[in-house]
């Protein structure tokens, strides 16, 4: 018998996923499902929205409820329409670093600004792995990837800083060796009636591991993640950089959520609408 959450929440025909062996996407999905389970949510309560790239594709259609796989970078725009029209569901938006922090950053910023009530799980493998391993805006500076053969010269950034500046009401950052913390953060994120952003860095063996780290060994690549989470490597020496993990901003439920703002507007307007405006059903009385 498999992980018991498979029967409860997933589509058997879509498991095993197309993810490579040792990929962190399935690990993070397991923690998302645990968070959903511990909150007592059902398949009908949650809609999964995914993007393009490994994270989107390997997650799409695994969820046993409704799934929406958007075009590249536009998952949050689709989520905006869904949430405004149907606000009573939990929307889990599973996107990668390319989808959220490169092509889709504009929509990320505006969804955070509007405080759209969705939970974004930005699963970050620090490169465009699906297309073979090009660098992305979150690739560590100087790293060699397929489109930075001399080392990446662009600086990188942390999407957590961006969404926090834009107005997100819950922001957390963890890595693929921090399952309990990630699960707790996802639970908090789902309980925020506002824009929640959980950023999880994870290992890629086939591309990032191969080109940036020089190995496809699964344990070596997840240990690289572990080392840069803890700040010490296998020999006990400090790593060249350490990710700052934790809950970065928690203003959960402190600001009105976007679909709530629109509904409140409609109530105000309905209270005073002019007679020439129509009878509310499209005709003109």
């Amino acid at each position: 018998m498999a992980n018991r959450l498979v029967e409860k929440y997933l589509r058997p025909s879509q498991i095993p996923t197309k993810a490579c062996h040792g990929c962190g996407i399935g690990m993070i999905e397991n923690w998302i499902l645990q968070a959903i389970d511990e909150l007592g949510l059902s398949r009908e309560d949650v809609v999964f929205i995914t993007g393009i790239g490994c994270v989107g594709r390997q997650t799409y259609a695994t969820w046993g409820g409704d799934n929406v796989g958007a075009t590249h970078g536009r998952a949050l725009a689709v989520a905006t329409g869904l949430k405004v029209a149907q606000p009573d569901k939990k929307y889990v938006v599973v996107v990668g670093d390319g989808d959220a922090a490169a092509i889709g950053t504009s929509h990320l910023i505006h969804a955070a600004r509007r405080n759209l009530g969705v939970t974004v799980i930005c699963e970050d493998n620090m490169g465009y792995e699906s297309t073979g391993g090009q660098f992305s805006p979150t690739t560590p500076a100087g790293y060699v990837m397929n489109s930075s053969p001399y080392g990446m010269v662009e600086p990188s950034f942390d999407p957590c800083d961006i969404v926090k500046a834009a107005g997100a009401t819950f922001v957390a950052e963890y890595t693929a060796v921090q399952w309990m913390q990630t699960k707790k953060a996802i639970k908090k994120a789902l309980q925020n009636d506002g824009f929640s952003f959980v950023h999880v860095r994870f290992q890629c063996n086939e591309n990032f591991g191969a080109y940036a780290l020089g190995t496809r060994d699964t344990v070596a690549n997840i240990q690289w993640i572990e080392d840069h989470t803890r700040g010490v490597d296998r020999e006990g020496k400090p790593t060249e950089f350490t990710w700052e993990t934790g809950v970065k901003h928690d203003a959960s439920n402190s600001r009105p959520e976007f679909s709530r703002l629109l509904r409140d507007l409609n109530s105000r307007v309905a209270g005073n609408h002019e007679t020439s405006a129509g009878n509310g059903r499209g005709g003109h009385d």
Binding site: G22, N30, T218
Partner: protein, 102 residues
């Protein structure tokens, strides 16, 4: 304390037999995480290939399981299920010291 240790560093503890460990062999992609993360040597490699072309893991010493749930959390493919054999069974009381703790 690093999470992943090769199998030879595992402690051999008296079996507690309080935890049920099951696997779905046709989901496994042989990533090795569970084998390396388990502190008490529950898993081993199967000698029969599975439906997706990997030699998967299988449960070798279920009775050793102390319910730490590391394998359950680390598996990328929903292969493993770990549950107490009886309701409210306490977690294993054995002290676990991994080699080379930082």
């Amino acid at each position: 304390m690093p999470l992943f240790e090769p199998a030879k560093a595992k402690k051999q503890l008296p079996p507690s037999d309080k935890w049920s460990v099951t696997v779905e062999r046709n989901f496994c992609k042989a990533c090795r995480f569970c084998i390396d993360v388990c502190p008490v040597d529950v898993f081993q490699w199967s000698k029969e290939v599975n439906a997706i072309g990997w030699f998967p893991i299988e449960v070798a010493h279920e009775a050793n399981c102390v319910g730490c749930m590391l394998c359950y959390q680390v598996c990328p493919d929903f292969v493993i299920n770990v549950e107490p054999k009886k309701a409210n069974a306490p977690a294993g009381r054995h002290e676990i010291k991994a080699e080379g703790a930082a």
